[in-house]
């Protein structure tokens, strides 16, 4: 078993005929550029993903982007399993851009929404099974025996009675001439060979070797390096700059203005960076020169006091609240946070006449290709997009702003250009996870069940930057995920899980010039935090244990109950903790997966330092394809979410972003990483996503544990030492 994308393969594949590598843009999805010794191979290619050649190799092209979640492996396992391929003879490559790679759920070739498995589980099973069905038929016809007497196993068809076998490679030529069944028989899950078993990820060896090609590693002949000097405040325009001074820097080739700022092009990265330093740009003040963190928080809190758009009204929440035996109201704030992928945004582009070639770490191939064509006036088929490995995605790379910049610069320069966003660019010019404010009022009946829930929230519109037409009557569902979603949403169950007979939700889209975009789990995180913290407060009000209260208000929610019960058992819920420690629980469902977490922590009152010692998670995502990367995704989600819970908040000043690099935008490191236990709940329910659902329960579980340890409620993150000291002082 082999995998792409190594640097050597990548370059050969892209630039010259050579080693096998997927290239894009054929209607069928990928085309193998065969080395000379492979020219005479027979090929059977039943669908966009699969190609079997007469050398017995099975090549699987994956349309989704590999960003460490293990999609190349998991999707290949599904195909290989149903195909009955021998994993040792499977190679996995990154596919190009093709209609066949469009997600049946999301209607686009895009790796978001924890959608690669839940969206492709059935199609990939069928893709593999179709291959197996054709090989069975081809063998039966060759031997003149009934198909039912033939069996497929590990890349071979056998006829037991006559002890004959033919390999898939041997059957390729015949198979290629046969019809491909649309609804081939699928395996009984008991017969799964690979699915559900821990398979080593195909991309790990090449990454450990240091040979994996990320976006930053693309190299071309005559490649130029570009950086952009960008405005210090949102909306600020260039007044003057010293192009000549910058062009005097050895290696700098050309300096010019573009819509995003000033582009500096050079023969090396170091020269481009040096050139940028001496541009002496003067800027005007921008659109909101006084904007800073306090003003943002004030604006978003004020948004809770003005009328908003009605999202949903079930029953009569007002009436239920007025009649409730117990009532509670609280307000919450979750700040702006950055994606801060370790590989900053970058793109290599080469515009030549009416065509354009792009190499980039992107999550959204269809959009990248389509919008590049539209913006620059290329025919879509003249925009060739190569997806490299992604140094983390987190949603940021589904926004191809950096691609358009690189294409624009290459076009202006007339050379192949690699555009690099420095870390400062990446943090300052990110499209963030939007901050949110929430005000929740709820009432309980005499039995401690939630009788009414009135929820008002404010968020910067996310769809405004993705698909403004989808905002209907002031409602942007992307802002609401985890609280509410539209009917028949392809995102699955992103609604508040509690059984609330009278529910009213209102949204205000905050008017701020700060760009926002999906960030791992989108707003499920900033919605789960207030909901699950508030539920804890309601439990206390009702005089109930937080776990028991949740179970009582999730009576008909099998999967939510299952993860809560599992996490309670595995964490030792209810057992005494050492003095000074606190324990908190939270649950959330998104992208078709239910997750509950219990956090255990201690607080140093003097320094304000919160130490999370242990996090136990229970996950119900339905059938599991590859259990080990699944656990890794939940571990990583917990660590990333803990980073936002304890540390992360973008600092704004003078109408722009003051945060710049890791010295002032702190990410969680090893010393603050807790012990993490992940328990997968055995489940045959509908298959859900796994990249994101580990994020949302963490912040409220920590805040609830903080209350358990200190008796003080936290309604705003991050729990920085200063904020903790202040909160403890207030009591």
């Amino acid at each position: 078993m082999k995998t792409s994308i190594s640097r050597r393969d990548f370059l050969k594949g892209s630039l010259a005929a050579g080693f096998t590598i997927a290239l894009s843009l054929t209607p069928s999805g990928f085309q193998l550029l065969n080395a000379s010794d492979k020219k005479d191979l027979d090929t059977f290619k039943p669908n966009v993903w699969l190609q079997v050649t007469s050398d017995d190799w099975v090549t699987i092209a994956i349309g989704n982007s590999e960003m460490g979640q293990g999609v190349h492996t998991a999707q290949s396992m599904i195909i290989a399993d149903e195909l009955e391929a021998d994993w040792k003879k499977v190679r996995v490559i990154q596919g190009g851009v093709a209609d066949g790679f469009k997600s049946p759920l999301l209607k686009s070739q895009i790796t978001v929404g924890s959608g690669s498995i839940r969206g492709f589980y059935e199609p990939l099973r069928k893709a593999g099974a179709a291959g197996r069905a054709v090989f069975l038929k081809a063998a039966a016809e060759t031997w003149g025996v009934p198909e039912g007497e033939c069996t497929a196993m590990l890349g071979k068809i056998s006829h037991v009675k006559t002890k004959r076998t033919l390999s898939y490679g041997q059957l390729c030529a015949k198979a290629a001439k046969m019809d491909i069944p649309k609804d081939p028989p699928l395996k009984d899950p008991k017969e799964f060979r690979y699915m559900g078993k821990p398979m080593p990820r195909v991309d790990i060896p090449i990454k450990v070797a240091g040979k994996a090609v990320f976006g930053t590693d693309v190299d071309l002949k005559d490649l130029h390096h570009a950086v952009i000097a960008r405005p210090p405040a949102y909306g600020a325009r260039v007044l003057t700059y010293d192009a000549q001074g910058a062009e005097k820097v050895p290696g700098v080739v050309k300096v010019f203005q573009i819509p995003q700022g000033i582009a500096v092009c050079a023969t090396s990265t170091a020269a481009a960076l040096k050139g940028r330093e001496v541009l002496k740009i003067t800027w005007d003040k921008g659109t909101l020169p006084d904007m800073d963190n306090p003003s943002i928080e004030k604006t978003m809190m004020a948004d809770l006091d003005r009328p908003g758009a009605k999202v949903i009204g079930i029953g009569d929440a007002q009436k239920a609240l007025s009649e409730a035996s117990l009532k509670l109201e609280q307000t919450y704030y979750v700040p702006f946070v950055a994606h801060a992928t370790m590989e900053p945004m970058n793109c290599t582009a080469h515009v030549q006449g009416d065509r354009c070639e792009i190499w980039a770490p992107i999550q959204a191939q269809t959009v990248t290709q389509g919008l590049t064509a539209k913006i620059f006036g290329f025919a879509p088929e003249k925009v060739q997009v190569h997806t490299t490995y992604l140094g983390c995605g987190l949603g940021r790379r589904a926004r191809p702003d950096f691609v358009f910049e690189a294409v624009g610069i290459s076009k202006a320069l007339g050379k192949p250009v690699k555009l690099l966003w420095t870390r400062e660019d990446d943090i300052k010019y990110d499209a963030y996870r939007s901050a949110m404010t929430h005000r929740i009022q709820a009432g309980l009946d005499g039995q401690g069940r939630i009788s009414g829930w009135n929820h008002k929230t404010a968020c910067v519109s996310i769809l405004k930057g993705i698909n403004p037409a989808a905002i209907k009557n002031g409602v942007d569902y992307y802002c609401l995920w985890g609280l509410w979603d539209e009917d028949n949403s392809p995102h699955w169950n992103d609604r508040i899980q509690y059984e609330i007979p009278n529910l009213y939700i209102e949204l205000n889209l905050t008017d701020l010039p700060i760009p926002v975009t999906p960030w791992r789990s989108v707003q499920n995180g900033p919605n789960a935090f207030p909901i699950e913290c508030f539920i804890d407060e309601l439990a206390l009000k009702a005089g109930k244990d937080p776990l028991a209260f949740r179970l009582q208000n999730l009576q008909n929610n099998k999967r939510a109950k299952r993860v809560l019960e599992t996490v309670a058992e595995k964490s030792g819920w209810g057992k005494p903790l050492p003095k000074g420690m606190g324990r908190g629980v939270a649950q959330h469902a998104c992208f078709g997966t239910w997750v509950a977490q219990v956090a255990e922590l201690s607080v140093d009152a003097k320094s304000g330092r919160v130490k999370v010692h242990r996090v136990v998670a229970a996950v119900d995502c339905g059938p599991v394809i590859n259990p080990d990367p699944l656990v890794a995704q939940i571990e990583g989600a917990i660590i990333m979410a803990l980073s936002t819970t304890l540390k992360e908040e973008v600092r704004f000043a003078k109408g722009g972003v003051a945060s710049a690099n890791f010295e002032d935008y702190n990410l969680l490191r090893m010393d603050e990483t807790p012990e993490i236990e992940v328990h997968i709940v055995p489940s045959t329910d509908r298959i859900g996503g796994i990249g994101e659902p580990g994020v949302p329960p963490l912040a409220p579980a920590v805040a609830n544990a903080f209350f358990n340890a200190t008796g003080v409620r936290i309604r705003r993150i991050p729990l920085t030492p200063a904020r903790v000291v202040e909160a403890l002082k207030k009591g």
């Binding site: 170091a270 990367p629 990583g636």
Partner: protein, 155 residues
């Protein structure tokens, strides 16, 4: 002309002496395994070995690396205990930071072949992994120590 010794090979490059070593390794020597992460020595993604010690190539002017032994991820053999352990424990997620992480661990194990938990955290806190592979990095180090002991191989 500046002479460099990288992965046991001699290179001559013509660059300004204050050029960060990282960009010389990547743009001039085309050794792309060493990654850019922050440019200020905060994240460890660009880590290489200089005379056996882990160093942030993004903050070191190439001039200062003259005549020293530089090792990048490409210079660590594939059968090295750390690389083997990284595959065995499936440490990697996106993998972008991992060349730096692997070199940081290699230097750590050279210094203390059986590092305790405090030592591991002390050294590994210099790196950032946004994917959150920290628990597996810890596991990977334990396994690398075992492999290394079994093989009696110097790390």
């Amino acid at each position: 002309m500046i002479s460099l010794n990288v992965n046991g090979k001699k290179f001559k490059v013509e660059v300004p002496p204050d050029t960060p070593l990282l960009w010389v390794i990547r743009d001039n020597l085309k050794l792309m395994g060493t990654k850019y992460g922050c440019g200020i020595g905060e994240c460890g993604t660009c880590t290489v070995l200089i005379n056996g010690k882990a160093a942030r190539s993004c903050t070191i002017p190439v001039e200062q690396a003259k005549g020293k032994k530089i090792v990048t991820i490409e210079g660590i053999p594939e059968d090295h205990p750390v690389k083997k352990a990284w595959i065995k424990e499936q440490v990697v997620q996106c993998g972008y930071c991992q060349p730096g992480v692997i070199l940081q661990v290699t230097a750590l194990m050279a210094e203390s072949p059986k590092p305790d938990a405090a030592k591991i955290i002390g050294k590994m806190n210099d790196i950032i992994c946004r994917c959150g592979s920290y628990p597996r990095i810890k596991k990977g180090i334990k396994t690398a120590v075992q492999i290394s002991r079994k093989e009696g191989q110097k790390t």
